[in-house]
Amino acid sequence: MKVLGNRAKADWSAPLPAERAGASVRLSGLRRSFGPTKALNGLSLDIAPGELVALLGPSGCGKTTALRVLAGFETLDAGHVLVDGQDLAGTPAQKRDMGMVFQSYSLFPNMDAVDNVAFGLRMRGHAARARRDKAGELLDLVGLAVEAKKFPHQMSGGQQQRVALARALAIEPRVLLLDEPLSALDAKVRLQLRQQIRSLQQRLQTTTVFVTHDQEEALSIADRVCVMRDGRIEQVDAPADLYARPATPFVAEFVGTMNRIPGVTESGGVRVLGRLLAMRGEGTTNPGVPVDVLVRPEALSLSDAPGSDGRGIVTNKTFLGAVTRVQVLVEDGLGVQVDQPSEEVATLALGAPVGVFIAAPDVLTAERRAPAAFHEAPSN
């Protein structure tokens, strides 16, 4: 990492000054059990130099374990961790050059911000003066030059995590590991800081693994999102692709909002809301099987001249800016959510009869599940 000069104030959007490329990471067939729990169950993932990959998944799916294996804090039952093609099996954590930011506040309480940031350099035997200069620059980089002399207990949570980020970056890590670094912060700081992390990461081109269970955070920050489930990967894709073309029902429902609408398979696809649509992804191809069709709110449309299928009444409207999310009660007590351009539904009254149809060419199906009407991904 080239250092960015002594600017008075951090400018997160400045152009990229460094041409340093990050390291490549290859995880192959990682397995790790804790007693009966398979925390990692054959996880494989390639990360390109300079890429930011988000590990996303429900609680307990093995995200932290994967990160700790990469950092060298956890041993493997099987599998390999390679950084720039080099197997790290025998390399202890302190020799791995991985900057880590922890979920809990991890600054050394006995040191002020500068000493915290300079710690890694000190461990590498840099001279006191060089350490201080570099630490000062990094604090500047995260916009905390003024707080340099403060101790952790004198800083806010957001400030502490920024110092922790500066501390991790100070050693010019080959890989930056972030384990839910924002989860202890309030919503506004969280939003701000994640944008700062992203622009900093892009500027420094540090290969980064960002663990989160917040799908919105993952989608907004990552080059690629890796959805995990039960110790293995469900899907790895760019955020837009993951959202638009989830490979499995699990991913579909975990990422974004998803409607489940009952349908029945036929030889040419699946019949749902009176139409025959092509099916994609895995799932049954036998005709006559009851399934749930998974459709995003924006892939549904409303018509004010309801035909015989997909008739319902408007039960709720939520204004979300450019679009409005309309909740429609279709027959049989099935509720669906439909996103429509706000101006088109401005005059739509609650209780008005509407028709719901699917505007997508093909759909993902999942096994039929008992009456649950629609599902929203956890958004905390």
């Binding site: 950092a71 060298g72 804090f73 202890p92 954590a93 302190q94 020799k95 791995r96 050059d97 991985m98 900057g99 880590m100 922890f102 809990s104 506040y105 991890s106 600054l107 050394f108 309480p109 006995n110 002020d112 710690f119 890694g120 000190r122 461990m123 590498r124 002399k149 403060k150 101790f151 004198q154 922790a164 501390r167 991790a168 050693i171 590991l177």
Partner: protein, 280 residues
């Protein structure tokens, strides 16, 4: 001791004063009684001893019991031996217990309860048994030398030291701090030295105080082994001159108090330095 008793009362004070109700007044009232009782318990014997030591053989006031202390036969050697034992014991105990406590917390937290139990054993096991046990494992070079006592004291100090360290370790997020240090390239030794120990300062301090106090005041083991440590000397010398013996005891008490004050004020000054940095 006094400081330990006063502390819980200080804690009571905070919520009580915020409330400002009748409950508050009652607590204050009780506090007065307790303080008075505790004070009397400490001050009356102290006062009696002081008067006794200031009485000459003819019943008149004299300082001779105090001024003659350094020239008393055996005093210098006994005092030196006790200080020496205190230093050796503290060093051995810390070197043994700090890494052990850190290791248990970090690697086998499941065994914390077991360790709690094991470290209490020296309190419940009779002294004679302990001595025999130590004699069994002590290296032969030490047998017959007073330094052997240090090994016994290490065992005796273990419950107090382990408990102090345990409390200190529970108060910090040890695992995260250690992992943070290691991910930054800190070897185990530098992690222990620069990250763990500085954040255990208070625990180390109280462990040291307890160890030193224990060694300087321990009588049973030393007299069983027939070594002339400071407390043993005081008791033996009582037969020669009870006035001087009492004067020495008093000085030892005051000395310990001063030591405690010094250490606590040192600790305070450190925290104040942090605060001053904050205002800058």
């Amino acid at each position: 001791m006094v400081a330990l008793v006063a502390e819980p009362l200080d804690e009571l004070e905070v919520p009580a004063e915020e409330e400002g109700t009748g409950k508050h007044r009652r607590i204050r009232w009780w506090r007065g009684i307790v303080l008075f009782a505790v004070g009397a318990y400490f001050i009356i014997p102290f006062y009696a001893a002081l008067r006794f030591s200031l009485e000459g053989s003819n019943g008149k006031f004299t300082l001779s019991a105090f001024t003659s202390i350094p020239s008393q036969p055996g005093f210098g050697a006994a005092f030196a031996l006790s200080v020496r034992l205190a230093v050796i014991t503290t060093v051995i105990t810390m070197v043994l217990m700090v890494p052990t406590a850190v290791y248990v917390h970090l690697r086998v937290p499941r065994l914390r309860r077991l360790f709690d139990g094991i470290t209490v054993l020296p309190i419940v096991i009779p002294p004679v048994v302990l001595i025999v046990g130590v004699l069994q494992v002590a290296p032969t070079v030490l047998k017959g030398t007073p330094d052997l006592l240090a090994l016994v004291y290490v065992v005796l100090a273990m419950p107090f030291v382990y408990r102090s360290l345990d409390a200190g370790l529970r108060a910090i997020d040890l695992k995260t701090l250690v992992e943070a240090s290691r991910s930054l390239g800190g070897r185990w030794s530098s992690t222990l030295l620069r990250v763990v120990l500085p954040n255990l300062r208070a625990a180390l301090l109280s462990a040291t105080i307890l160890t030193v106090a224990l060694v300087l005041g321990e009588f049973t083991m030393a007299s069983l082994d027939q070594y002339q440590t400071f407390p043993v000397w005081i008791v033996n010398f009582e037969q020669d001159d009870a006035h001087v013996s009492t004067a020495v005891s008093l000085l030892a008490l005051v000395g310990t108090w001063l030591l405690l004050l010094l250490i606590t004020s040192f600790d305070r000054r450190q925290s104040r330095r942090w605060l001053r940095k904050e205002s800058r």
